[in-house]
Assembly symmetry: C2
Homo-oligomer: 123 residues x 2
DNA sequence: TGACTGTATAAGCAATGAGTCATACAGTCG
DNA sequence: CGACTGTATGACTCATTGCTTATACAGTCA
């Protein structure tokens, strides 16, 4: 696929199969709670792997693997400093996605609450 | 979780584990190429199941199952009309997500092309 | 050099989920 | 009613992937 195929895409034009695969792949990376958690932790600044392990409450190999996934997708970058590896957000637009989803979900929750208020009454 | 917990979330405040799970779940729904394809097909208006099956080139049971997933996540709604079931977008903000990902991906592709132009030269 | 810390990787297991096939169900039409 | 069409569901297979454990590798410090 030409490099700028996606960029040049007209509004509402059909995405190519390759483009759809890339879009779905990006969403799939964000479809894992632990990875979203890691991104949230990095939202306030870089952290090294150990700090992330402690912050998200998982094992070091597991966090390391998720960081690899996040890096390969271009969302996170890593910088080695001596013994440690510092991770930081490489594509801040990912937070726009998260915020948009939060907004959409909260709208839905409020709407559902209106439809069935008895299920959501404060305790 | 209180209904408006997500809605009231402060900017950069930490998301609750439940909120993170919900966000990841929404992304996971979008992490399947066929589902993105179905959403794209519905972008220009409602379609019944048979039309979707023909449009996306999959089997009827498979499309039906993905439609169920899309409906349960609140992205798509269905309306029965006689023998047929018409599907339509129930949360148009999903296209904002897709477009944002496309923009991000194209930026990355262009950037990578600058770093390694020989890999992206037009054939 | 050797001991230690921080990170990455490999192997194995278990769960998830996409796809297929067969079939059930519902609506229409004769 | 029976035949037919459109859609949903259940059972199954297979590939993917998250997690764990053990281990390898790299950097630091004595």
């Amino acid at each position: 696929m030409n490099v700028k195929t996606i960029a040049r895409r007209k509004r509402h034009a059909r995405l190519s199969p390759e483009a759809i695969d890339m879009v779905a792949a990006r969403f799939r990376v964000l479809g894992e709670p632990l990875r979203v958690r890691i991104l949230e932790e990095l939202r306030n600044g870089q952290k090294n792997v150990s700090e992330l392990v402690a912050a998200v409450g998982s094992t070091q190999p597991n966090v390391s693997k998720h960081l690899r996934t996040l890096q390969e997708s271009g969302l996170v970058a890593r910088r080695q400093d001596g013994n440690q590896v510092y991770c930081y957000i490489d594509d801040p637009s990912v937070f726009d996605l998260c915020d948009a989803v939060c907004t959409s979900l909260s709208r839905r929750l409020v709407r559902d609450a209106r439809l069935a208020p008895e299920l959501h009454r404060a305790r």
